[in-house]
């Protein structure tokens, strides 16, 4: 399996402040890697660096075979789902319109996008929302909207999917359904997925590997190792006994 992401000692500075320092990790095809860390840890900045939206001050980064200076070329093969509050809630768009916005790039400027409808239908089918094609996006529930936004991220048939807190603001059942959908898509499409979340229990249960960052890498490895690491207590400044207990319990019941 090849590396979809290969980050080595990447450092990002914003307004002369080090937001990320010496982060190294890899993500392989068909792997779901979770990123956790407290507020302001630099998780969203890390996703933006993977998209080439913020420049690297140091280190080397390769995404889908493109180096950090050529990440613009890789964007067409990256699906992205920003945080929920990034979209305009009162814009009267149909579900198909929302998914179609995911097809736009620098290359589609001044051009008609070909086979738009089949691509939109196919990505809505992937997330189980085919019948919602002509529904108003505003009228959907939070969970349904998230699945449509996921379809928007998938519409380019990406090799890598970056998700920034997709579960925030969803109830427990909608969160569970969303994570189950991600796991299904990962296997069906052999997708590499990077998932940022504050929900430690569900991210630990669904990820193949976890990275815990707080400006720099603190601990990474298998979810059970990360969740039991004393480093996690230091990063979050609280005890995680209860959380690891819940995780172990969940794993036992799965077995």
């Amino acid at each position: 399996m090849g590396n979809v992401i290969d980050a080595r000692d990447i450092t990002v500075k914003l307004e002369n402040k080090e937001v990320l320092k010496n982060i190294s990790f890899t993500v392989q095809q068909g792997e779901l890697v979770g990123i956790i860390g407290p507020n302001g840890a630099g998780k969203t900045t890390l996703l933006r660096a993977l998209l080439g939206l913020v420049p690297l001050a140091n280190g080397t980064l390769e995404v889908l075979g493109c180096s950090s200076t050529r990440l613009k070329d890789a964007r067409a093969a990256i699906g992205y789902m920003p945080q929920r509050q990034s979209f305009e809630k009162n814009f009267p768009l149909l579900v198909s319109d929302v998914v179609a916005t995911g097809l736009l790039s620098r290359k589609t400027l001044l051009k008609r996008i070909e086979k738009t409808e089949s691509k939109i239908i196919s990505s809505l089918e992937d997330v189980g929302m085919r019948s919602y094609l002509n529904r108003s996006f505003q009228d959907l529930s939070g969970g349904e909207q998230q699945r449509v936004l996921l379809a928007r991220g998938l519409v380019r048939q990406p090799g890598l999917l970056l998700l920034d807190e997709p579960n925030s603001g969803l109830d427990f059942n909608a969160q569970r359904l969303f994570i189950d959908l991600l796991i299904k898509l990962k296997s069906a499409m052999n997708l590499a997925i990077v998932l940022v979340s504050h929900d430690l229990v569900s991210i630990a249960a669904s990820s193949d590997r976890l990275l815990c960052i707080n400006r720099t890498m603190h601990v990474h490895g298998r979810p059970a190792e990360v969740m039991q690491s004393p480093e996690l207590d230091r990063v979050y400044r609280c005890q995680f006994d209860l959380l690891s207990g819940m995780l172990n319990e969940r794993k036992c019941s799965d077995e």
Partner: protein, 274 residues
Amino acid sequence: MSEMIAYSFMQRALLAALLVGLLCSILSFFVVIKKLSFLGAGISHTALGGIAIGLITGLNPVLTGSIFAVGTSMCTGYISKAGKVGEDTVIGIFFASGMALGIALISSFKGYYPELFTLLFGNILAVTAKDLIMMAAVLFVVLLFVSIFFKELIAICFDEEMAEAGGVPVNYIYMGLLASMGLTVMVSIQLVGVVLVAALIVIPGAIASRLSRNYRSMLLTSLLFGTGGSLSGLVLSYAYPIPPGAAIVLILTLLFGLTIIIKPLFERSRYARI
């Protein structure tokens, strides 16, 4: 009605109302969706500084005002994106400083400026053939820009971050939208004046957003109400002694008020049928 159309100044005024109504309602769609209403008010008031420079130097005040309006709108976009200062804060500063510059210049260089009253409160009946050409040219440029980048504008208005991540040149297109707003505000000032122009680029889109379930019908409704409101305001001002600018804004405001009252009634009857 036929008597009204017989006058050449009324023919020009009707054409101006149609052109400006079309222009404002196209941009009104984006202004309402992207929540840029305050920017419209800011640009028009800032333009007063440019108008004052034109008046005291003897240059065309519409031209100097346009340069100011476009410059202000683009500076607002640039500073708010690059300087981490909120857009409303930047507009608030430009809004007041443009007005202050206009007042300072006009008071310092004492003279008789008959055009000033026209530009402050609008006078569509004084529109010349040259003004019409300018309005048509701005409409052409704005239509060209919007039709070329329509799908990108929709994506930016819905989710700027996603559009940027996808590779859409968000900053350039957004600057183009702001420049279009600057030009539109400036040519519309002749119709309704500095004081009232913001209403013309907000109300058609606001009415349309109340009545539409998707963006295509919202754009069409905005066009319908923007041009309809402009033309009917002009007709009203011909029949009654009301200045055209004020009549247009009052008609549009009345229509917006009606949507506030009527829409819930429609929805109630729709749910009752379901």
